[in-house]
Symmetry: C2
Subunit: 207 residues, 2 copies
């Protein structure tokens, strides 16, 4: 396989215009599109080819409601830890699109998968969590290339999420994903636009 300059350019475009979306339209994502996203996510790398990510597609409204309450609880607790000025800035941020997003995915990591036969994770158990993050990133890019938006919600208590979804003991909560059509397309990420955190340079250092 030989990649062309056009391929590299398309990839750069997806990377550059990837956005963390929190404003969703509520109309559904076609099942064929969801199928393509599922296939794309399955292409993510994993140490020993262990493929430890576990995906629950959440459609039950009771479960969705439990997640929203858990987010609100954690978000209020996070806000309370800032000083007054930062708190009002924080509280004005829209940090999740749980109410409108048509698709919700709860993502867990299996911490003792048989697949991979333990290769590459003896000294670094973290290598099971890294593939899950890469799989989420794969989904993110694939969704963006379909003109969909994705938001990753982490203002949640892992132990509570594991209880809400009653997952096996060995699964650890990794993230909750909102997916759908973005309500608007902006060229500036939300946290930049509202001034919470601009880009810091990420220099490479020589050794």
């Amino acid at each position: 396989m030989e990649f062309t300059a056009d391929d590299a350019e398309a990839l750069t475009k997806v990377l550059r215009w990837r956005r963390d979306v929190r404003h969703f339209r509520s109309d559904p994502v076609p099942e064929t599109t969801m199928g393509r996203l599922r296939d794309a996510m399955a292409l993510a790398p994993s140490v020993g080819n262990a493929r430890p990510w576990r995906v629950l597609r959440v459609q039950n409204s009771g479960l969705r409601n439990s997640v929203r309450l858990e987010f609100e609880r954690c978000n209020a607790a996070a806000a309370a830890e800032y000083d007054e000025e930062t708190r009002s800035e924080y509280s004005a941020l829209k940090l999740a699109g749980l109410a409108a997003a048509p698709e919700h995915l709860a993502i867990f990591t299996a911490t003792d998968p048989a697949a991979g036969r333990r290769l590459g994770r003896r000294t670094m158990p973290e290598t099971l969590h890294q593939p899950t993050a890469m799989a989420i990133h794969t989904l993110w890019l694939a969704a963006r290339a379909e003109n969909l938006g994705l938001g990753m919600v982490s203002i949640l208590e892992p132990a509570r999420m594991e209880r809400i979804f009653d997952v096996p003991e060995s699964w650890e909560f990794s993230a909750y994903i909102c997916l759908g059509w973005p309500e608007f397309t902006d060229d500036t990420p939300l946290l930049h636009r509202v001034g919470w955190q601009k880009n810091q340079p990420t220099e490479w250092m020589e050794r």
Copy 2:
């Protein structure tokens, strides 16, 4: 920004043909290409836009040698834990391209970055490690689209890596990356070809 079917197809092609490369040619990667990879990696997502990944470009031969010795030590210890049959299978695997790869990157995660102002990581400190994994994945895809190969080495003891590179107390070792031109292009990932671990289906479950 509206993505076309061609964009989605180019992305899928890069995802599908991404490979974990361990066989490198030793000729150098042009500095302009390295610059593009650096720019691509900086486009990775991060919670609160904290951008916690830290990249050391390792050119010092003494440091490279220390890493190779550390890999050999950990690899021998990992091999020793398997039963005899699996051990001979394990030992036949080529798990790193440290000797030939022209570019080595040591990747760490800053666990207390000022950037991001703690947003989104109160309940999940893991959200600082997830962006580093996503940044590595971004580099992986960008390298592949330039027809370069990348190998991620994790058979290393994090505490030793932190000591070898004498990094700040708050940095945690995430991965060691080998980068360069692949010696050959194969259409089957190494662990499949040698029969260590074939793909397991990664079904999405409904809830």
